[in-house]
């Protein structure tokens, strides 16, 4: 039950995950896994692959992110697969359009296609929509909001698989070039459950980042490491859950 509970809250990719699974007010390619409005800040096309281990053996998530900035906005695509290979698989494919209004306001709309396949049992599919918003209050201070699946799209009553309906708010504050603080609040509307999370990213040198975070609801701790070399980015992260243990994450990106 607990593992279902945890998996229902979609995880961001390694960088955001290491920062306490926060990212509602952050920008970059990784925004596709948190608040797609952050894609509007992208000035280079980029592609990434990621892998996430879960607490339960053989359960994993893998996926791909891609974004192309154009003069009319940024287009993004993602592909995500969660589950136990050959037994239970949830696939999600999404397309995003993100646009900035001036230097301060970013917004995005994402269309998601969800498919659930349980071997020798059933297969279902559905569609959902996410909307995101980010606003820059000061040069180094952002706030963001995201509403995921407001239409309460669901597979079927017969299957206990949930497409989260969630409202999230977040903020990010860059103390200086090498130090970034974040805080997110997430409300799962279908379950009346709120989590508050906070994170930190510290750039030790031009090529290495340390990250850490905390989630207060289940008291999870998060930490990670990021390496950047020219156009390559490699992030590692893990969640440390008090009862369930470790869930490692990997992320590899290339910017064109």
């Amino acid at each position: 039950m607990l593992s279902l509970n945890v998996s229902a809250q979609a995880l961001s990719v390694a960088r955001y995950c290491a920062m306490g699974n926060t990212g509602i007010a952050l920008q970059g390619l990784e925004s596709l896994s948190a608040n797609a409005a952050g894609l509007a800040a992208l000035d280079q096309s980029a592609v990434a692959l990621y892998y996430q281990g879960h607490y339960v053996a053989n359960t994993r998530t893998q996926g791909l992110l891609m974004a192309i900035p154009t003069h009319i906005g940024t287009f993004g695509v993602y592909l995500n697969q969660y589950g136990i290979s050959g037994v239970y698989v949830e696939r999600t494919v999404g397309a995003t359009y993100a646009i900035s209004f001036g230097q301060r306001l970013y917004t995005a709309l994402t269309l998601n296609y969800h498919q659930l396949r349980i071997t020798n049992y059933d297969s279902k599919q559905t569609y959902s929509v996410d909307v995101g918003l980010q606003y820059r209050i000061q040069d180094n201070w952002w706030v963001g909001a995201k509403l995921a699946n407001p239409g309460y799209a669901a597979y079927d009553d017969a299957l206990y698989a949930v497409i989260p309906v969630q409202l999230s708010f977040g903020t990010s504050y860059r103390v200086h070039q090498g130090l970034l603080l974040t805080g997110d609040m997430e409300r799962l509307l279908y379950r009346k459950k709120t989590d508050v999370r906070t994170g930190l990213e510290y750039q030790l040198a031009s090529w290495i980042y340390f990250r850490g975070g905390l989630g207060f609801d289940e008291f999870s701790q998060f930490c990670g490491l990021g390496l950047r070399h020219r156009k390559m980015t490699f992030d590692l992260a893990t969640i440390i859950h008090p009862q369930l243990g470790f869930a490692p994450q990997l992320f590899l990106a290339y910017a064109f």
């Binding site: 090498g178 930190l200 850490g212 008291f219 701790q221 008090p242």
Partner: protein, 681 residues
Amino acid sequence: MLFRLCTISVLLLVVSICLKAQTNEDLLLEQLMESIANELPEDVDNTELTERWIYYLHHPIDLNATSGKELAELQFLSPLQVASIVDRRKETGSYLSVYELQSIAGLTADLVRLLLPFVQTDPSSEVTQRRLGDYLKDGKYDALFRYSRILEQSKGYTIADPTKSRYLGSADRLLIKYRYQLPQRLQVVVNMKKDAGEQFFTGAQRMGFDFYSGSIALQSQHRWKQIVLGDYTLQFGQGLALWSGLSFGKGALVQHVARLGMGLRPYTSTNEYAFFRGLAATYALRKISITPFVSYKPLSATFADRVDDHNIYSAISKTGLHRTPNEVANRYKLKELVFGANAQFQSNGLTIGVNTFRTQFAGLIQPREYLYNSYSFRGQALTNSSIYYSYAFQNIYAFGELAKSFTGGLAYTSGLISTLSHELSLVLQYRNYQKDYHAFYNQAIAEGSEPVNEKGFYTGLIFQPSKRLLWVAYVDYFKFPWLRYRVDAPSDGQDMFTQLTLTPNKQTKWLFRYRYRNKLENGDLVQQVSSMAQVKRQQLRAEIQFRLSPIFNMRNRAEWVYYKKADQKERGYLVYQDMLYKPMQGHFSGNFRFAYFHTDGYNARIYAFENDVLYASSFPFYSDKGFRYYLNLRYKLKRGIDFWCRYGAFLYPQKETLGSGLDTIEGKHKSEIKAQIRVQF
């Protein structure tokens, strides 16, 4: 250089204004004590710390000469802050002024203000060729006598029946301290103490006081750094193996999860357990110092049985109280021999050390056969070894210790403090103390009362975006892999703390604090098998300190507590008004508190720091419904002679009896008087 001088003169001007407000030594000591000792138990003798502060107020630390050890002794600086102060000399040369401290990252404005009276940069402080006669002139005698007593008679003093438990002595408390000090040469300490209920020159205490302590310490700048004969303390590493004397737990000083050992020091306090008695010395050879030690002292222990010519004891008593026939019977019954050595290497911010020592008892220790005691120490002797390190590099300070008991388990801790930016510092600490790890002088950071059977991860942040705003927070997650007293299952919990301090101007300070603690405990239902219950305790505090006039300071506090265990809920609150009177001149000074408190029960009790006579400080708890008031007065008879007195009382209007057991008092009042005189010459 010109720019630096200009900057310094501007800083001088600014800080001299605040210094005027700081000239008052007592106020400073109170401020320090309250900031550092927030979670200390009731009636701890803080002499050790207060004396050290007074010493450095009178002999300020030379910023250009210190290796950091003296700064660490002040206790309110974190290891990273100490390292930053020392390292700065390498980067920008000698300090020209103490006010340069303000430009060091990680030193908050508040901290610099506290630190300034303790440091100097004056080159005249350097030791020059002096004769013995010159030193003797610097010698200082210090004698202190303190008397206190609870005025209402408690039940323990009224029982005449010799077969029943009762207090054998009078309710008077006495303390005599004597010091002789030649700075950086010699220190002689003698302490004598009688607790309430203990006999005096009769019975078990026919030698007079119940507790005597003393030491002669020789200090030198040469190879034999220190030799102590008598009572001493040893503090090395992170306290996992060898730490006696005062130590602090988790609190508002977030960076203090990194312990900074003082090494060998003469023991000056009157707490009756955590010290050694014998001979110890520190010999330093360049970057290596070696501290061999031997200690032999009697302990009070609960006698259980005698088998095969061996006395068996179920527990060692650490209270130092010998009031009832039972306590007297157990007094000083178990002899303890401790011997071993420490070796430490120090160079360029790196410290590596090793401890090895053996503890032997003239009796067998066998805790009672409860399941939670399954892994407790049993036997007559124990050998401990530990290795520890600390390393300061740029804005990072890493520390740790790995300890092993033979026979028994392992314990280790490791952590780091990093000043991520001028505004933000991060503290991380991981600890893992196995359930079968044993050490009798283990005072490492822990959630439990003893640092064993615990795993934990601590994250702390200190954020100071401006001089007027300081925010600290920590989150500690801990696990107890084995059962504990009143917890019949492996358990875990969290401790979260946050505090915001606003200083809009030099005269006003606002403080807001919230703490949340969550643990598992046995449920209250009496069943064959205990069920576990979540115990949550939340605490909210708001405080304001402000200056009413140049001689009157005010302090107001309101605090709420909410306790919840399964369906049982208790709430409580406390409000108080303090008034501190401190004229710049004149013989009299004093302070006063009036408090009202109302809690649903003992679980929602609220601890609060109280001003006391010098060297004493108290943290009593306020529980039930009633009033608390006290008055402290200090009178300076003449130069070198000071007199203090204190009256404090609890009034519970709705109660007919107070306390429990032998401490039961008939009536609504519990009041105490205290008088102290100090002579210095």
